[in-house]
């Protein structure tokens, strides 16, 4: 391990320690405000202990929202992953193609520019009309939300390719295809991963919005139902679960990024 890598590792450990302290501090303040000082009634602001108890209870109980926590997680994951993966699988190659092939850029960009500013939530009524309230509609909404950042970032990433790097490849006799795969895409990878991270965030946000409007299962639905029942503990359980799953995805994405994005160029 060289000096640079050692220094990076030290920074990472330091960052980890500070993160743990920050989380501990947050939960302590929360506990003191609720369980010790009782600043608000439990049905409005439950203590961390009540939330943990509600979570344990929800592992096996379907009441009052019709599913265990696993049922809600599974429903949300199915929707989110379907929409997100489709968005990434279509968005990244499309962004790359738009940036690399002039004709694709000319053909697709006007349409993309027209669709891009439309808020994802604005698609919800249309998607429900087209696909009902099942998996299809929600996956389609998430697809739209994930697709746009993927396209934009992949496009910007490819456009960042330095001409001198392409000239190096060209003088060695690389074909256009080789230049794309050995120069342009490696250049674009940090931004492609940035796009994937942004998409992940928007996909989760959109998922909750979609499930609140039209669903019968899922973490967003769980929040919506328990709001009407004044079960703040279960709302917090759902919120923390969303946060935890989002974090797990982000950690996974970061690990993938570390594997593929080399040279200290992470976005």
């Amino acid at each position: 391990m060289n000096e640079y890598a050692k220094q990076k590792r030290k920074e990472k450990i330091k960052f980890g320690i500070v993160s743990v302290i920050s989380l501990c501090l947050f939960f302590t303040i929360w506990y003191v405000c609720t369980a010790v000082l009782h600043l608000k009634p439990d049905y409005i602001l439950p203590s961390p202990v009540q939330v943990v108890e509600a979570f344990i209870d929800k592992l096996t109980r379907t009441a009052p929202d019709g599913a265990t926590i696993f049922g809600h997680i599974a429903a949300s994951l199915q929707v989110a992953l379907t929409g997100y993966l489709l968005g990434a699988l279509v968005g990244v190659p499309l962004g790359v193609a738009m940036a690399w092939f002039r004709r694709v850029d000319m053909f697709v960009t006007p349409l993309f520019d027209l669709i891009r500013p439309v808020p994802t939530i604005a698609w919800i009524p249309l998607m429900i009309l087209w696909f009902g309230i099942g998996l299809g509609a929600k996956a389609a909404i998430i697809f739209v939300s994930a697709f746009v950042p993927c396209v934009i970032n992949a496009y910007a990433g490819i456009k960042q390719t330095k001409p001198v790097h392409l000239w190096v490849a060209q003088t060695f006799g690389a074909s256009r295809k080789e230049m794309l795969f050995t120069v342009a895409i490696p250049t674009a990878l940090p931004l492609i991963f940035t796009g994937l991270r942004i998409s992940l965030g928007t996909a989760w946000m959109t998922l909750c919005a979609a499930e609140m409007l039209a669903s019968n299962k899922g973490l967003g639905y769980m929040i919506q139902v328990n709001r009407s029942l004044a079960r703040a503990d279960l709302i917090v359980v759902a919120m923390l679960t969303i946060g935890l799953i989002g974090t797990i995805f982000t950690v996974g994405l970061n690990a993938l990024e570390r594997k593929f994005v080399k040279g200290g160029r992470r976005g």
């Binding site: 060289n2 640079y4 330095k162 001409p163 001198v164 790097h165 000239w167 190096v168 490849a169 060209q170 003088t171 060695f172 006799g173 690389a174 074909s175 080789e178 050995t182 120069v183 490696p186 250049t187 990878l189 994005v261 080399k262 040279g263 200290g264 160029r265």
Partner: protein
């Protein structure tokens, strides 16, 4: 250096719209020769190299450039180009950068490994093989580019003011390394520079260009013995001769 012609430039003319940049330039470069091209800043030296390699889709307005008697074909001819700006790929380690050209040319893995080892040793970067460009100094970065270029054993090496951004001490060091590599490999080199001392130090022949529209003002054979001494009177005399040729003041 053999008498065989490696590069033949005949009546090379390049216009951008109505602006005539290169005006009817003709010269030959022999196999294994080290040719330096000097001229005032902005006279079209880089344009000349870009026309030669057809980079940036540069096509000649008139004339032709032949390598081994054939029109230039980057996929057929083994050419390497070292640019003025740093051109190492930031996502690749030193050894991956050096191996790049060999991979593009689809050389066998054993040969790639062997060539990379050899080049790492030649440019003194063996210890830094797993470093990324972001972790290297300016001289190391340029050494990576040089190693990457020599790794493919190019029949023609083009260098466009590769040491233009460096201070003198670093430049001298890299120039000596370049001469050693050239002597060892016998590669034909076309080296573009605006630094007259550099041209006199490195070259076997100097091509002095005029201001735009660029043409050849004079070709000067440089038979000074090696290793060359910048304080040698003969060296200074040649340097002064070239300086007088490109003086615009």
């Amino acid at each position: 250096m053999s008498d065989e012609i490696k590069v033949k430039v005949s009546h090379m003319t390049k216009k951008f719209g109505d602006l005539l940049v290169l005006n009817d330039i003709s010269f030959d470069v022999k196999t294994g020769e080290f040719l330096c091209v000097v001229g005032p800043t902005g006279c079209g030296k880089t344009t000349f190299l870009n026309c030669l390699t057809k980079l940036k889709a540069y096509e000649l307005t008139g004339g032709e450039i032949l390598i081994n008697g054939e029109p230039v074909d980057l996929q057929k001819h083994n050419i390497a180009y070292i640019f003025q700006e740093y051109s190492s790929f930031p996502w690749a380690t030193v050894e991956e950068n050096i191996a790049y050209g060999l991979k593009v040319k689809k050389r066998p893995p054993e040969e790639i490994k062997e060539r990379v080892e050899e080049m790492l040793q030649l440019v003194g970067l063996t210890e830094y093989r797993s470093y990324y460009p972001g972790q290297l100094s300016a001289s190391m970065l340029q050494r990576v580019s040089i190693a990457r270029a020599f790794a493919v054993q190019p029949e023609l090496l083009l260098m466009d003011e590769p040491y233009g951004q460096m201070d003198n001490s670093l430049r001298y060091k890299l120039e000596d390394e370049l001469i050693q590599l050239w002597q060892r490999t016998g590669t034909t080199v076309i080296f573009i520079t605006h630094n007259i001392e550099e041209a006199v130090y490195l070259s076997q022949r100097i091509l002095v260009l005029t201001n735009k529209p660029t043409s050849i003002k004079k070709e000067i054979d440089n038979n000074l013995p090696r290793p060359r001494d910048v304080t040698d009177p003969a060296f200074n005399q040649l340097r002064d001769e070239v300086t007088d040729l490109i003086k615009w003041w």
